[in-house]
């Protein structure tokens, strides 16, 4: 009797679990396949077929990539953009969010409205480009950092977070003679660490993955980040440079594995910070609503 009652439920759960495992597998498969091929010896890749495990771990594609000066230049560029960009983002967002969290500030409502409005309407691609040109930022390191220096969405979320900090804490420091900047630095920021960690991660991932701004504002190839190089290699299919290097050396590599290895190199840093991201992002997504 009891067994029969359980069966329907077990079938339901079984199918549900199976479908979820399927979702997970479909998500993971491309990663694992790319990783496996990038580490496989040439003969195995040439033979074709589904590769899920390298016959012999081969690092030739990686040594090929890491010895290519263009690729390394782009990697260095991406790292610089990520570090400098994230610091800029955080400094500007915090500096603007703090005064806006003070409800007594005159003009606060109009500023918030103007910030919110930029989320609904923009000048568009061409005027944005012309402004960058007018500012003399085209083809500069800052051209990929400045146009996105503050995310209006993050700004408002951080402002809401600051508003949630008890005013009494700040008032007491003010009475003790602390400046606003001092209060921000010594009291508000230490209390906002979880929120700041979230923003740091999100801004940093955004910079690492950034492609659009480089395509728009940068034509100087020495300033290109890794994403632009990846596109060149895979989608436009230009690996001649690497193959020329292959001809000179005894290493045997084919374009396919070089491309896969490049994908792995561009993705691994994201996967490394992923556990930290994961700890924070649910909070990040749900931190307060977007309200002035």
């Amino acid at each position: 009797m009891r067994q029969y009652r359980l069966t329907g439920d077990m079938v339901f759960r079984g199918i549900n679990g199976f479908l979820l495992v399927l979702c997970g597998t479909a998500t993971l498969f491309p990663f694992l396949y790319v990783l496996a091929v990038s580490l496989s010896p040439m003969e195995q890749v040439m033979r074709g077929g589904l590769i899920l495990w390298p016959e012999k771990f081969t690092w030739d594609s990686y040594s090929m990539i890491f010895s290519n000066s263009h690729f390394m230049q782009a990697l260095w560029m991406t790292i610089s953009i990520t570090v400098v960009g994230t610091i800029t983002n955080l400094a500007l967002t915090v500096l603007m969010a703090y005064p806006l969290s003070k409800t007594r500030l005159k003009g606060r409502r109009i500023i918030l409205f103007l910030v919110l409005f930029t989320m609904l309407f923009s000048g568009g691609m061409i005027p944005g480009y012309l402004v960058m040109k007018w500012l003399g930022l085209l083809n500069s390191f800052w051209s990929v950092i400045m146009p996105g220096a503050i995310s209006a969405f993050n700004l408002i979320i951080l402002k809401n977070f600051f508003q949630g900090i008890p005013e009494a804490l700040e008032e007491s420091a003010r009475i003790d003679g602390c400046s606003h900047f001092g209060v921000l630095l010594k009291i508000v920021l230490p209390l906002s660490m979880p929120a700041l960690a979230t923003f740091t991660l999100f801004y940093a991932v955004g910079h690492w993955n950034q492609f659009f701004q480089s395509i728009m504002y940068v034509t100087n190839s020495s300033l290109w980040p890794i994403q632009v190089i990846l596109r060149q290699m895979i989608i436009e299919g230009s690996t001649e440079e690497y193959q020329a290097a292959i001809a000179n050396e005894s290493i045997q590599v084919i374009p396919m594995t070089i491309k896969m290895a490049a994908i792995v190199v561009a993705t691994v840093p994201i996967l490394l910070v992923y556990p930290f991201l994961q700890k924070h992002f649910a909070k990040g997504v749900l931190l307060g609503s977007v309200k002035g």
């Binding site: 491309p30 074709g48 967002t93 500096l95 005064p99 409800t103 012309l130 003010r174 606003h180 993955n209």
Partner: protein
Amino acid sequence: MNQPSLLSRPELARGVRRRSSWKDWELYMMLIPGALFFILFRYFPMWGIIISFQDYNPFGGIWKSEWVGLQHFVALLQYDGFWRIFRNSIVLSMLNLIFFFPMPIIIALMLNEVRKRAFKNTIQSIIYMPHFISWVVVAGITYLLLGTQGGIVNEFVVKAGGEPINFLTSNEWFRTLIVSQSIWKEAGWGTIIFLAALSGVDPQLYEAAVVDGANRWRQIWHITLPAIRSTILIMLILRLGHILDNGFEQIFLMLSATTYEVGDVFETYVYREGLVGGNYSYTTAVGLFKSVIGLIMVVAANRLAKRFGEEGVY
């Protein structure tokens, strides 16, 4: 706002107030860098929209260019290619609405039925991950898997006795690829907001339903779905508000000259004609057309949400 315990003594309150009103200048100083950012990089471009009413001359700049009134807008509406990008943009959004939109809801409902925490967490960790991968990597993997030379999918197609399929350059496959990529990359991430809504459901409701003899489906239908109804509605309205936004990066990366017929959308068209082609004024008009419709759609969508008794998003 009031801090009676600290500021109850009148002389103290007066002192603090006088000092703080002077010291508020510091707060305004802090606003300056951010304000400059918004003025330079958000409001200057809006002002730059006026070049869509001019014949922009790169050497004369905005002050010396000739005014041409609505000429570019008229040209726009008469141009066949314009209706092509308009159609493509809406078709892609609608396809996403039909095939992508339900996915996060379905997956969230499935995850909600899982009792083993470890299993649920593992699946969640895996399906959130692609959200953090760049579109270049996603497009790159797509090219490597589906390419006609060495792509594993076509290898299987050939082994099964078929002809290699031109996934990447054919008009028939373009939209399918775009929607599939979106689902692979963002459907898992999209579950977060629904799972959050689901976590607020009182478990007692389910217990009561079981006592009343409700099976799994009835529990889902009468308890789970109503709990996320308002979230679904808000997300749906938001999507409708962004019906002309197709995401530049994804489409730009997947588009090739052979697929313009089905894949060219506002962003890619403006990039190609404007930035690459140098038709600044005309493409600014195209962009303005899109931005204005977008603004109207978002505001209307928000009104609609409020009419349905929801809080609204903005």
